[in-house]
């Protein structure tokens, strides 16, 4: 088939699908405007010097070399973000699955109740400022109060102003918040696993719940596992709100700086838009790259 006839055939097909395009158009126009174009602009701007006042000036790879070679705070931000991703990512992913798996064995009423308990923190409208009261620096904060009462401490600790404690506390709060959409997808996925597979498995010599989990449950849930991984990874790379709310902005000696808070710093405080765009582009690459990698790994589950 020649190029010309291929085109005329495609055009004919497109004309026949005009209703599909009409239905898609409103969403796609907005999606392009607020997601696709911004990604493209961000990548282009990352190669320029841009302060919002003057027209962007092309400076090649300078933003990137500055980012990795001269910006010490960015290295802290990368280190913190990776720490978040490496700790909260896998832990919350596994926790989502394990708790969904245990909850799935309960009666429907208990299942609904426990789902609510585990999902409530992530849905409760960003009320992580509760943790400010718990880790408040005076003796009225729950953590200080209890530790003093039990005799572990003599004086209250400034939890969120002491470098060594900031990251562990943020990781704890992030874990508390992290049983979200992925968790619901797992609960749902477990309910769709074909019951007869378990009976067949028992006949074929599956001895305990762990074998059942690995050979039957996990492989049947591969789609939900993928979905959960994407959601969980994206969230654990994007930590910023919790850091700003609890540790302040900027945090003590940048102890709670993450890539996103660094991006906010340069984008909204210092108006170095080109540099901020370079940070955004690096973050984008890291997120999409790890997501694709993890999906590749997950295809092997249960083999």
């Amino acid at each position: 088939m020649g190029l010309k006839s291929w085109w005329s055939w495609k055009l004919k097909e497109m004309r026949a699908s005009k209703h599909s395009y009409v239905l898609l158009a409103p969403y796609m126009v907005l999606f392009t405007m607020f997601t696709v174009i911004p990604v493209v602009i961000s990548i282009i701007l990352s190669f320029t010097y841009f302060n919002m006042l003057e027209f962007p000036r092309f400076i090649g790879w300078q933003n990137y070399t500055r980012l990795f070679l001269e910006d010490d705070v960015f290295l802290i931000a990368i280190k913190n973000t990776l720490l978040f991703a490496i700790i909260t990512g896998p832990i919350s992913y596994i926790a989502c699955f394990v708790f969904a798996w245990i909850i799935n064995e309960l009666t429907p009423k208990w299942r609904a109740f426990m789902t609510l308990i585990f999902y409530a923190p992530s849905i409760s409208g960003n009320v992580y400022f509760i943790w400010l009261m718990i880790f408040s620096g005076d003796r009225y904060g729950i953590a200080n109060g209890l530790l003093i009462k039990w005799g572990f401490l003599l004086e209250p600790i400034q939890w969120l102003k002491t470098e060594a404690y900031i990251m562990p506390i943020l990781i704890l709060v992030q874990l508390w918040l992290s049983l979200g959409t992925g968790f619901l997808a797992f609960i749902a996925g477990l309910q769709t696993v074909d019951r007869t597979l378990y009976e067949a498995g028992a006949v074929d010599g599956i001895k305990n719940r762990w074998q059942e989990l690995w050979y039957i449950t996990l492989p049947s849930m591969r789609p939900q596992l993928m979905f959960g991984a994407v959601i969980q990874l994206t969230t654990s790379f994007a930590v910023a709100d919790v850091s700003i709310a609890l540790a302040g902005f900027p945090s003590v000696n940048y102890a709670a700086e993450t890539v996103v808070t660094h991006l906010i710093d340069f984008g909204t405080t210092r108006f170095e838009m080109g540099y901020a765009s370079a940070i955004a582009t690096v973050l984008f690459m890291i997120m999409v790259g790890t997501n694709l990698l993890v999906q590749k790994l997950l295809r092997r589950v249960g083999e």
Partner: protein, 287 residues
């Protein structure tokens, strides 16, 4: 224990295994729920009880004074509290309706039609699930200011229409609608739009609820995302943040506002839970 014993006549279950797993569930369940219980109790504590030493989890002399304090505090501010509520309800309401309509309309052809560009468009949406909106914040601000939407509700509402997770879940859910149903309507002479509106939409009601709760959570908790500067247009979440940062004298009112903020989405979830899980069941990432 009653709950454990009824676990679906499954074989291969050791009792000690069950017990340790449920112990695990209880310990972590407590970790999840205790901060929320603390927040609920704090809202009803008189001020002296909030600042007792050692701190207590449960309230001893419950009072509504924090809520009345909150009202007094807010009636003194030059923007009436009802204005913040209106702003949040308006943004959340319009955002949800627009998103459900647009995402459903777009999900239908993606799930059920064959046309050039379909796979590509869906792949782009899936790709966008893999990164945080923070990545595009700066260009988005530029686009908003170019459109003249800075300091209007629209800067928050319109991008929410094109939230990608909603389209993704809706498309996966619509794929389960039997083709025969749509074919039958087509033979009866219904147009694509009529099929969408009268057959597809009523069939995906559980998925609506999921989209509603996801977007509700996002918009209800929004503080304007750096686009809204006028005090009259600010949201409840923003106002709450101001009160909570107000220090010791406002600790009671802060606790009350925290309770108000968290109770609405949680209540909504309680009522829609089973439908939401039904939608999530179809949420596989398909290649």
């Amino acid at each position: 224990m009653a709950a454990i014993a009824t676990g679906k006549k499954r074989v291969n279950r050791s009792l000690s295994g069950s017990l340790s797993l449920f112990a695990l569930l209880l310990v972590f369940g407590a970790f999840m729920v205790l901060p929320l219980i603390y927040a609920i109790n704090n809202a009803f504590k008189p001020l002296d009880e909030i600042f007792t030493f050692p701190p207590t989890l449960f309230v001893k002399n419950p009072t509504f004074s924090n809520f009345t304090d909150l009202l007094n505090l807010l009636s003194d501010s030059w923007v009436p509290f009802s204005r913040y509520i209106f702003n949040t309800v308006f943004i959340t309401g319009i955002g949800i309706v627009g998103h459900v309509l647009l995402a459903s309309a777009a999900a239908y052809p993606l799930a059920k039609h064959k046309f050039p560009g379909k796979v590509f468009m869906f792949q782009v949406v899936v790709l966008s699930l893999m990164f945080t909106p923070a990545v595009t914040a700066i260009p988005n601000y530029m686009i908003m200011s170019w459109l003249g939407w800075i300091d209007t509700y629209w800067a928050v509402i319109i991008p929410a229409f094109a939230y990608s997770l909603g389209l993704y879940l809706m498309k996966q859910f619509m794929e389960q609608i039997p083709d025969a149903l749509l074919e039958a309507a087509k033979i009866d002479g219904a147009s694509e739009y009529r099929i969408f509106w009268s057959i597809v939409m009523p069939n995906v009601k559980p998925a609506w609820l999921t989209l509603i709760i996801l977007l509700f959570q996002m918009l209800w908790g929004s503080d304007g995302n750096g686009y809204i500067y006028s005090e009259q247009l600010k949201t409840l979440h923003y106002a709450a943040g101001q009160i909570i940062q107000g220090g010791i004298s406002r600790a009671g009112a802060g606790a009350a506002v925290a309770l108000i903020l968290m109770s609405v989405p949680i209540t909504l979830f309680i009522f829609s839970q089973s439908r939401i899980i039904e939608t999530m069941a179809s949420s596989g990432m398909k290649e």
